[in-house]
């Protein structure tokens, strides 16, 4: 369908909201907007980071998911204890594809689920004893683990267990870093607060361990940290290769494929490169204030954005890096040009709707545009105002932006806008595929990836083509419902 005008989009929003009762309509209207690139601040047009409306389907997670799953989960040489009933612990690990290099049980522990399995008696008498016992047990089972985090689930906060004191006692006893994280699921409105709490725990329990101590670490003027790249499907590896190729030295990957040691040594870097602004801007702000380490956001999705980002990064360094960037850009030009030449004719002009979290609703727009596709609607699960400020500039005029969109709204928007491709999560996947829309999971890259860097762009383009131009979409309609050849000819 042709691009919609402002008015049409506005009418669409009204039409979709019409089914809600008055109060719900008023609330939801604040979370939907028609994009206007002339705006500088989004908060007058869109409300975000508010409690989801009871009674509607939302796909948000909880604070525990934000801390255990997102921020702490990928740290590979620590054991993350899900402190509480077994359920959350079960769902926490490796549902998310944060890859890590190493051997399970020796130097990586990301594939292992550890939970204290609260029972009724632990709720009544407190679970501290159980937590202590679990440390002893883990020390016996996995003596090579470099540290532990205690990720509290809801009941721990409700009964008021003192996980901090247990952690301190045990740290003294076994001599390893133990980080208590107060990320009970009921805190906040979405996983976003879990990210914040996890960041604060890194600030309080990890970074100070080496401050002011001479740890014999030799620094160079080109040391950087990669922050908030979660290595989904191996994303951080092509990113790191690119950064190293332009002449930088990556000293820490936090948290994707990262270790406790890297986190501790990250204080020596010259610059923090922040990939997902939403989930780790807190720690970058802290490091800027405490260690005088500047931070910047970057985007390695698609050649246009890679070029912009690498040039912007080079601006912070001397000519060596600037020359490195030019050399890298020239080197990879034929590679990505071949990808664009191959896939652009097959994807040109197709419309995409996105609904993801974190950074992707705005970061991958550039990659789609490189393939000649257009993003007609985008939205975040748990963004704040500053994310929408950044999104407005990336999106075309009169496109649809939705915050914490409900299952019904997304359904209705898709039915009206009829995009050629939808990018969202597993909960939406089968619903839209059954409706006959090509769909990619943009949280987990649909079991593919990496999508970062030039290498990732080739995979991204292939995946989009594979999904969109799959012959199965022609077979969605039952044979007896299709117009007969005679009818088609007559038409």
């Amino acid at each position: 369908m042709a691009a919609m005008t402002r008015e049409e989009t506005q009418n669409l929003i009204q039409e979709v909201l019409a089914v809600y009762p008055e109060k719900a309509k008023k609330d939801r209207a604040k979370h939907l907007m028609v994009n206007d690139q002339s705006l500088d601040v989004a908060k007058k047009c869109i409300t975000s980071n508010r409690k989801s409306l009871p009674g509607v389907m939302t796909i948000r997670g909880c604070a525990y998911a934000g801390s255990r799953g997102v921020c702490w989960g990928p740290i590979k040489d620590m054991i993350h204890i899900s402190h509480g009933p077994v359920g959350c612990g079960m769902y926490s690990t490796m549902g998310r594809r944060h890859y890590a290099n190493g051997t399970t049980g020796v130097d990586i522990f990301t594939t292992i689920n550890v939970t204290t399995d609260f029972q009724e008696k632990d709720i009544v008498f407190g679970g501290d004893k159980k937590l202590k016992a679990s440390f002893d047990e883990l020390e016996k089972l996995f003596p090579l683990a470099k540290g532990y985090t205690v990720q509290s689930e809801c009941p721990v906060g409700l009964i008021g267990d003192d996980i901090e004191s247990v952690s301190k006692v045990k740290t003294a006893e076994i001599g390893k870093t133990i980080v208590p994280v107060r990320c009970e699921g009921f805190r906040g409105v979405s996983q976003s607060l879990g990210h914040h709490i996890a960041n604060d725990s890194i600030r309080d329990w990890v970074l100070p361990t080496r401050v002011g101590k001479d740890d014999g670490f030799t620094t160079t003027p080109y040391d950087v940290n990669i922050l908030a790249d979660y290595n989904i499907g191996g994303d951080i590896w092509p990113s790191r290769m690119l950064l190293e190729e332009i002449g930088l030295r990556v000293i820490a990957q936090i948290p994707g494929d990262g270790t406790l040691m890297e986190m501790e040594k990250s204080i020596h870097a010259k610059l923090n490169l922040l990939h997902c602004y939403r989930s780790m801007n807190y720690i970058s702000r802290h490091m800027e204030e405490t260690f005088g380490m500047p931070w910047m956001e970057y985007n390695l999705f698609g050649p246009t954005k890679i070029e912009q980002s690498l040039r912007a990064i080079a601006e912070r360094f001397d000519d060596k890096i600037k020359d490195g960037v030019e050399a890298v850009l020239a080197k990879y030009k034929p590679q990505w040009q071949a990808v664009v030449d191959k896939y652009r004719p097959r994807l040109e002009g197709k419309k995409v709707m996105l609904y993801v979290g974190g950074l992707r609703p705005r970061h991958i727009i550039g990659a789609y545009e490189d393939l000649g596709m257009e993003v007609v609607g985008t939205g975040y699960e748990f963004a704040h105002n500053d994310d929408y400020d950044r999104t407005i500039k990336e999106m075309g005029g009169a496109t649809l932006i939705y915050d914490d969109v409900t299952a019904y709204e997304l359904d209705a928007f898709v039915k009206k806008i009829k995009p050629d491709l939808i990018g969202s999560g597993i909960k939406e996947k089968y619903q839209f595929q059954k409706m006959g829309f090509p769909f990619r999971q943009m949280h987990s890259w649909d079991y593919s990836g990496p999508y970062h860097g030039y290498d990732g762009f080739a995979i991204f383009a292939r995946d989009m083509d594979m999904t969109l131009n799959n012959p199965c979409w022609k077979e969605i309609k039952a044979p007896w419902l299709r117009p007969s050849p005679a009818e088609t000819q007559a038409a």
Binding site: Y282, R285, E288, E289, H384, N385
Partner: protein
């Protein structure tokens, strides 16, 4: 009395950030901004005003300070 982190953005302008309020705004005017003192009434890009007793000598940004909301 929100705890505010004040930092410079890429253009060198001061940014006023309250994590809890999810507020990040450019500071458009500061009452005292000289070599001996920084502070007083601070006006933000969206028109809100905050007050802090002038700090002497001026603090090095980024830093976290406690401001008072001016009604």
């Amino acid at each position: 009395m929100p705890s505010v982190m004040v930092r410079r953005n890429d253009e060198g302008k001061l940014l006023f950030y309250i994590a809890k309020k999810d507020l990040e705004e450019v500071i458009t005017a500061v009452e005292h901004d000289t070599t001996d003192a920084w502070g007083g009434t601070v006006t933000l890009g969206d028109g809100e005003t905050f007050y802090i007793d002038p700090i002497s000598p001026p603090p090095a940004f980024p830093t976290t300070l406690r401001f008072r909301r001016v009604e």
